[in-house]
Symmetry: C2
Subunit: 198 residues, 2 copies
């Protein structure tokens, strides 16, 4: 016997999620099918409502319940400072930091020639437009510290510097609480290069 077709379709849909293999998809689907009715309704509703109500802020491209988002409409923030991140998740992480109160821009990814993600596939044009329009004097490039994020940062710096805007990149070094034994050589070498006198 095969699985009922509707279960098969459900598994197919769930299998497309990132990091979910066929076995995991099967397990998730059977779990959802076994949920009590009220729980299943709440589950479906949570996904549906978020999809329906969550907007993309037309200024910073963060996800938000309002447009502009609360950060872009916050008059108290420093409008001259712009932090560029890859994803809305990255924005949340940076926004937990106390010593940054500037604005944000979500690129929606990073340049990755191997995955065929070029400058047209992320919001580089929109970022440059915003920089040309606005009164931003410094851009902090907070793309990931991996090769894609690094490539993107280098590319962006080349575009932004000619506009007369200061460009900076997050500093490399050992993470707080980091164990030297398990740190990779490049991180240690960057941490040595960036050593501070005590």
């Amino acid at each position: 016997m095969n699985r009922p077709q509707l279960v098969e379709k459900m598994i197919e849909a769930v299998k497309k999620l990132p990091g979910v293999g066929p076995k995991m998809a099967e397990r998730l689907c059977y779990h959802i099918l076994k949920m009590p009715e009220y729980e299943a309704a709440a589950f479906i509703d949570a996904i549906k409502k978020a999809r329906q109500e969550i907007k993309v802020c037309s200024i910073c491209y963060n996800l938000s319940e309002s447009d502009p988002c609360p950060i872009c409409s916050d008059e108290m923030r420093d409008k001259s400072l712009l932090c560029v991140v890859e994803t809305p998740q990255d924005l949340i992480a940076v926004s937990k930091v106390k010593n940054y109160d500037g604005m944000y821009f979500v690129l929606g990814g990073a340049l990755s020639p191997l995955d065929a993600v070029g400058p047209k596939d992320i919001r580089i044009d929109k970022l440059i437009k915003r920089l040309k329009d606005g009164n931003i004097t410094e851009v902090i490039l907070a793309t990931d510290m991996d090769s894609k994020g690094e490539t993107t940062a280098v590319y962006l710096a080349q575009l932004i510097k000619p506009l007369g805007i200061k460009v900076s990149r997050l500093g490399y070094g050992m993470p707080v609480g980091g164990d030297i034994e398990y740190a990779d050589e490049i991180t240690i070498s960057k941490a040595i290069a960036g050593r501070k006198e005590m």
Copy 2:
């Protein structure tokens, strides 16, 4: 800044799924929020439809689009043979086997005192009722080969034997293609005990 509340709620709902931690839930939700509209609609629809249409067969308790399910309504199958499994997924696995054409019964779990799952929490009463009503002459216990499945099989055998019904259990041994180097001792010892002359 915190996440929009609707995204937070969505992550909460997804986090409840088995094997999905907070980071994974976050990743899945942002993926769903980024999906194109048609894909998101298909995704939600696949889950909703399966939840609405999939029934539990009133005879074997398998999941099915019809009640009774295709197996229980198949006149060609051997109605005297019953294979007892823990879950609908187990039923699918057994049903792929060519040398079994009997009926099925899905317990809906296994006895597990540590998780407070007792005989009342799985369909043991319903199984016994079916055995008393019907013309089943042999029961194959195909619960998992772990401690819970084993406990359940031993418990069921004690209940079923007095009804004058033959009870058997799946045979232990090395899995096909199994690597002896990586097999656990108990499996190897069972395989030796069950060795076949060549």
